[in-house]
Amino acid sequence: MPVLEVNNLETIFATGAGVVQAVSDVSFTLDKEESLGLAGESGCGKSTTAMSIMKLIRPPGRIADGKVLFEGEDLVPKTEAEMRHIRGKKISMVFQGVSNALNPVFKLGDQLAEAVLNHERISKDEALKRAQDILDLVGIDRSRINNYPHEFSGGMKQRIMIATALICNPNVVIADEPTTALDVISQGQVLKLIDDLQSKLGLSLLLITHDLSVIGEVCDKLAIMYAGKIAEYGEVATVLESPLHPYSEALVHAFPPLKGAKRRLESIPGSPPILINPPSGCRFHPRCPHAMDVCRTEDPRLTEVKGRKVSCHLYPAK
Amino acid sequence: MFSEIGRKFKQSTKSDRVLVSVGLVLVVGVILLGVFASYVSPHGPYDMGENRLAPPSGQNLLGTDYLGRDILSRIAYGTRISLLVAALAASVSLVLGAGLGLFSGYFGGHLDRVIGLMMDALYSFPVIVLAIMMAVMLGPGVTNTAIGVGIALTPSYYRVTRSLVLSVKERGFIEGVRAIGAGDLYTMGHHILPNCLPSLAVLASFNMAEGIISVAGLGFIGLGVQQPTPEWGADLKIGRDVLAYGAWWVSLFPGLMILVMVLGVNMLSEGANALFKLGVRRR
């Protein structure tokens, strides 16, 4: 049984300007000790998907439909009190290091200890010791538990975020753009850390990023999202080497190859749709070079094609 | 200009609209009361009667004070006095403050620093203390109170005007205007001042509230408007004096008038501030 299974997830935001269809009919699975990369442009719904899994969506947003099965149990109908026991302990989230996810007025040790004390009845001292142990694991000096968040660099804060997520030995870790705001050197270090920890601790990882190269390095599977829907989903090698969905293809070609012949960076003309009134039919059709008549009227469904799943009318369901 | 006001009104949030509307109603209501005081008052404000310290009744809707004067009449006519003094005070502080702010911001240099220092010192002072000091120097009475409170409220106008002048200077067109031969006074009056007016107007209404309370406060202590002139604060002093007799009506109604007026002005200025997005700070 997969450790995490998302089925037809739909998350909406009821704003003054209209209902934003942030996540529509998103489905994927994450097996034990597997790592899945969720990729796409800003605003495509990948972070919202992650927040929906953790049930951290607050009004005016809500999960409108679908199931989120964690170890077989659906999380969607669970209450806040029940989710409390899951967050941080069974499923945890790694935020961007440069975000304000660490409270600036509390010391590092206290914040790490809080993560433990939320779930285990141990003494404060024991919790602080656990905090120091986890800092060792991510490569930060133990003695810094009395420092404040603003005293750390971006890369170090990212490691702290990883430490916070791991301190209770969760089964699933969701990493939201863990390397995005870092310089290249720190990026490499953090990626290596994530990769090592994942194999060492046997974690299942959901990695969210817009950077396909990151996914290429760390992940087993890849799901590409566009405008709140899944465009293509399958093994990393399969999708990256021969992308089928026109958006995946364009995305892959937008990244310069580190090796091999130099080629022109191609950007995708146009911009993603505003999800209040998404375009009829396939949401990518206004920007798609292969758009056909049917694309304007019918929304394609995820279909199994050549060893992965694609939602595109070029590959119609049988 | 009115069409723009109308447009801004439609674009605002509900709470801002409520603020401005209710505030306007209250303020206009009070002003009307003052204007039509003679129609509303069954007696004259100075008319003493036999019926001393009488509770509210058919004859005296709001009761009488220790001289038998009708409270309703006193607060209705008191409206005129309070509004007059507050408006005078507002004008004094506006002219002084904006004037000083204009000169200070425009010329800069030593003048700016000296005036700024003085204003800073005044600004950090409790208004009531300043007002009391002014009252001591100038003496009691209607005009003196107005001048005193006006001077006490000057610093905030000074600050706002000065910063507006500085931001206008920053925009650079002052050089352009000077280059075509405009004199200093003309530049200040014709070009800079109009930019300041909306913010100053809002500040004026914020300060009206403070002015009204300060005037009433001085009257309450006995340093402001003197008896027998009807003024809400001075009448509250009487209320305090007759506290022992349990004559609550003498204290309640004048104070209620102050509250209604100040509430109205505050609501109006808050609403207008938000509506026109002027970001004027309240003190």
């Binding site: 026991h85 935020f95 409270n103 | 950090s124 506290l243 349990g246 509430l263």
Partner: protein
């Protein structure tokens, strides 16, 4: 450094007494000397802690002020505490129930309270609780028949507690309830507003989501994580509002006949006691300056991001 306003010095030159008294007084106080000399003399004395002598009591001004200052302190401190409790509580509730009924009610309430004249509020409290209901005393700091505690801090509430004089302690508390409430309500309106705005902002910050993602209970997220951040600017606000607070304290003292600096100032003015008046004004301005300075320090102390 703070500038002492020149005005009270000019006030000395315009007394409304008879000509003879005036010239005699002037000469006695050395006022017929050139203005500049007087000013420097005054400053010189000031730096030595000498504010001259009160005309009415013939005692040093500093002595008179020291005698009355603690009561003002007692009033202000109590007022700040009540204002903080009321203001923060209503501000937080408002923020949590943003745009719902409780929020609107709290904001209207705060607006209303802000527009109340403090002296009228005091007067009304006196009428309702003192005269009509007769449950609370409305004048002075202590009933005359109670044993007065010795002057240790000068704050009757504190002194009676320290010396174990429980009847005086409770009696003085009774006397302070209404004044504290009067001045506290006034300040609470502003605090409520700021607390609300800051709390709403804090609740939208990333660390709130981060805390939830760790499995932190919602109440802890609100009251530990968000509130702690929201409260920092409130401290600054109290400092900025200090002038307002002093003004309110002055009027409150007058209303409740508390013998603090405010009452002293008013009686000094009525008695045309210029040295005393001036001295009190000087002390007031020093206080305001001191508080402004300390607020910055206190804030730096509370916010770990600031190093000083």
């Amino acid at each position: 450094m703070h500038v002492i306003p020149g005005d009270p010095i000019r006030a000395m030159l315009g007394p409304k007494a008879t000509e003879e008294m005036v010239s005699m007084m002037r000469h006695q106080l050395g006022l017929d000397r050139p203005l500049l000399t007087q000013y420097f003399d005054y400053l010189f004395n000031l730096l030595h802690g000498d504010l001259g002598n009160s005309i009415t009591t013939r005692r040093p001004v500093t002595y008179e002020i020291a005698l009355h200052f603690p009561i003002t302190l007692q009033l202000t401190l109590g007022g700040i505490i009540i204002a903080a409790i009321l203001g923060i509580y209503s501000g937080v509730i408002s923020a949590l129930k943003e745009n719902k009924l409780a929020d609107h009610a709290a904001r209207i309430y705060a607006f209303f309270v802000y527009s109340l004249p403090v002296f009228w509020l005091g007067l009304m409290f006196q009428i309702v609780f003192g005269k009509m209901l007769g449950v609370l005393p409305i004048y002075g700091t202590l009933d005359p028949f109670i044993d007065r505690p010795p002057f240790i801090t000068g704050m009757v509430v504190v002194d009676s507690l320290i010396t174990g004089n429980l009847p005086a302690f409770f009696n003085s508390l009774e006397h302070m309830i209404l004044p504290w409430l009067t001045i506290g309500l006034l300040l609470s309106a502003t605090i409520s507003r700021i607390a609300r705005a800051n709390m709403i902002e804090a609740l939208g910050e990333d660390y709130v989501v981060g805390a939830r993602a760790k499995g932190t209970p919602e109440s802890v997220v609100t009251y530990k994580h968000a509130l702690r951040n929201a409260l920092l600017p409130v401290v600054t606000v109290i400092g900025l509002q200090f002038a307002l607070l002093l003004g309110g304290a002055l009027l409150t003292e007058y209303v409740y006949s508390l013998n603090g600096m405010g009452s002293l100032l008013i009686s000094a003015i009525y008695d045309r006691d210029f040295p005393l008046t001036q001295g009190i004004v000087v002390v007031f301005s020093l206080l305001v300056a001191l508080v402004s300075l300390s607020i910055d320090i206190v804030y730096a102390f509370l916010d770990p991001r600031i190093k000083y």
